[in-house]
Amino acid sequence: MEHSIKRWAWLLVLPTFAAFCIAFLIPFFSGLYLSFCNFRTVNDAVFVGLSNYRRIFTADSEFLHALWFTVRFAVLAVLSVNLFGFALALLLTRGIRGTNVFRTFFFMPNLIGGIVLGYIWQMIINGVLYRYQYAITSDPKFGFWGLIILMNWQMIGYVMIIYIAGIQSVPGDLVEAARVDGANAPQVLRHVILPSVMPSVTICLFLTITNSFKMFDQNLALTAGAPANKTRMLALDIYQTFYGRIGYEGVGQAKAVLFFVIVALISLTQLYLTRRKEVEN
């Protein structure tokens, strides 16, 4: 029996493998190839070597600006989302009345699409700023903080659920033993709960870092980069380079490859660092 399954394994894997090739491997490698080409549509590419990569930095400073804006955004968003998410998770694992209702409500924003959320927050923020004769595009800092609020609103519920799962899996007798040994609440948190939820921290950090870097629809809906592309993040910059400027398709593609490398490097480093801190139960 086992023998025959082994013989037919390739057939059973085939559909998934085909899907993986069609939807991932082929686009990935053709994308990589296109970044070295001058092209208008994906069918008429002409190889030009590294010139696209050079043009990212020589044509203008938009990419570096978007990168710096994204990094600032990511640092703040990752910290705030995880802190608030963890704090909420702690609160909602104490058996307060209505815990499930609260969890549901905090999770709900995550179910709304980014574009919709972006427009809703644009209306809210503009509604507030209007009273002072401002709009969200008046100053890049409004857009920046708007994005931070938006990201928190959307992601806190999600990481909260992951942290709750982590906290709930901390063995009760471990906490009890710590208490008996005289540890106070902050000490229990620091030395018992935190090390045990490190796997959750790994996941949450990974999710929030990659999501912050890849943020697109929220950015598009909230400010679309206004004023003067000062609130444009990497993904939007790539999109607008690719579609918005004639003759810059290859540059947009090269930016996308660079973007992939940056995000991969950052998230792999993060995975490596936090994995080391995880403890075996």
Binding site: L14, T41, T137, A226, P227, A228, R245, I246
Partner: protein, 447 residues
């Protein structure tokens, strides 16, 4: 039992994927016309045109309409497919430069033969690659009801007695500023509708308004007798009439319904709604805006009160300036489609612009003023703005301003200018920055 169930499930999945991939392959062949439509407001009309055409000729026409402001994106991905558009649009010489490898030569087509002014087509050497199908005009749309109310005021400060006397920027300015002072009596909230500067909504200023000062600059270029050609061949511009641009833009901003700092949140649709609801007297836009005005619920503007005024900026001799008239809608045929498909596509366009049924659609439903000789004098759209455009075009005393913006270096240029205008309007930057942006971006995007 469980094992068998899993096996069944996997087999089912396998069969399903095979079927899907097979059916995807089976759907080709059959020469059809695929029209990639540029104007979202005409989407439903083209659907019924396609239906009627199929009924008459048996040839099926597939119509896909790109969402507003996404034509380039849609075209870029659609044309790379096996089932690519056979008819698409380019926005003039700049668009042609970008889609060169896809445009078939239309020199021998009937459509080109119909074109009453052959110089309007996009040409390259001997070949003809884009044929305009609609002529449009823009200027300052005004509500004559409100204007009459103003000229009836006892305490107005101007000596002007009617809109007909507004022939230059100075007069326009005194009238507008005096109207602002009488907002309450006129029952308006501002003279001009919002200068919409939200992302993607700034084309009325970075393209259309900028057209006027740059037209005068290119007109002064004696090397070329066609201003658009002069624009296309300008590697750099001096932006000589930037002060005129500044003046008219300030007039819009200072007499607007909306505070300057809030303009970054306003869309063209907002402006047109303000006009339709009678909250403002004027708005800069083109004849395509008629459907927008008409469709605003609760609109109070009377159809016969909607009129056009040229965009006066204060250039010497502008008394004889007319509306800005031109086109940025050129039909092109996909060179890479099969010969049969190309032929069918041309036949469809021929039908649309010369048969009785087709022409009826064009004038009554699409509201196009066409540049084709197949349309007689009285086959004109019935909307007030299109009629105004025709009226201005036929006035021999006036010189229309051509759409030299078809020579602007591309979207990158326009977006940058729009962003600079927003920064200026919000008071973050001086106007000098707009001037430098226009000059620098022209140079860098052209290069």
């Amino acid at each position: 039992m469980k094992k068998r169930f899993t096996a069944v499930l996997l087999t089912a999945a396998l069969v399903l994927t095979t079927m899907l991939s097979l059916s995807a392959c089976g759907k080709k062949g059959k020469a059809t016309v695929y029209f990639l439509n540029f104007k979202p407001e005409t989407a439903s009309v083209y659907e019924s045109i396609a239906k009627d055409y199929e009924k008459e000729t048996g040839v099926s026409v597939k119509v896909v309409t790109a969402a507003a402001n996404t034509y380039e994106q849609t075209l870029k991905s659609e044309i790379a497919k096996a089932d690519a558009p056979t008819i698409f649009q380019i926005n003039g010489p700049i668009g042609y430069a970008s889609w060169k490898n896809y445009c078939a030569d239309l020199k021998n087509s009937k459509l080109y033969e119909y074109l009453s002014d052959k110089t309007l087509a996009v040409t390259d050497g001997e070949g003809v690659y884009g044929i305009p199908y609609v002529v449009e005009g823009y200027g300052i749309i005004y509500n004559d009801g409100i204007m009459r109310r103003y000229f009836d005021l006892k305490d107005r400060q101007t000596t002007v007695n009617g809109v007909g006397e507004i022939k230059n920027f100075a007069t326009l300015k005194t009238v507008v500023e005096d109207m602002s002072k009488h907002k309450r009596e006129l029952k308006i909230e501002g003279v001009f509708a919002s200068t919409s500067l939200a992302g993607g909504e700034d084309w009325r200023w970075q393209t259309h308004l900028l057209n006027v000062p740059l037209y005068y600059e290119f007109r002064d270029n004696t090397d070329y007798n066609d201003p658009t050609l002069a624009g296309l061949n300008s590697k750099e511009i001096a932006f000589l009439y930037n002060e005129r641009y500044h003046d008219i833009f300030d007039l819009y901003l200072n007499n607007s319904i909306t505070a300057k700092t809030l303009l970054g949140a306003k869309s063209t649709e907002d402006s047109m709604a303000e006009f339709a609801l009678g909250k403002v007297a004027m708005v800069q836009n083109g004849n395509w805006a008629w459907s927008q005005i008409r469709d605003v619920s609760g609109n109070v503007v009377k159809k016969e009160d909607i009129k056009f005024l040229p965009i006066y900026t204060g250039v010497a001799g502008e008394e004889s300036q007319g509306l800005c008239i031109g086109t940025e809608n050129y039909l092109a045929i996909n060179k890479n489609a099969s010969a049969e498909q190309q032929e069918e596509s041309l036949a469809f366009l021929d039908w649309l612009f010369s048969s009785k049924t087709g022409k009826k659609y064009v004038t009554e439903k699409l509201d196009y003023i066409t540049p084709f000789s197949t349309f007689s004098e009285d086959e004109l759209p019935n909307d007030p703005l299109a009629r105004e455009v025709v009226h201005y075009m036929n006035d021999d005393q006036l010189t229309a301003v051509p759409w030299v913006f078809t020579a602007f270096p591309g979207e990158g240029f326009k977006t940058a200018v729009g962003a600079a205008l927003l920064e200026y309007a919000q008071g973050n930057r001086p106007f000098g920055d707009v001037v430098t942006t226009v000059k620098n971006r022209w140079k860098s995007e052209r290069g």
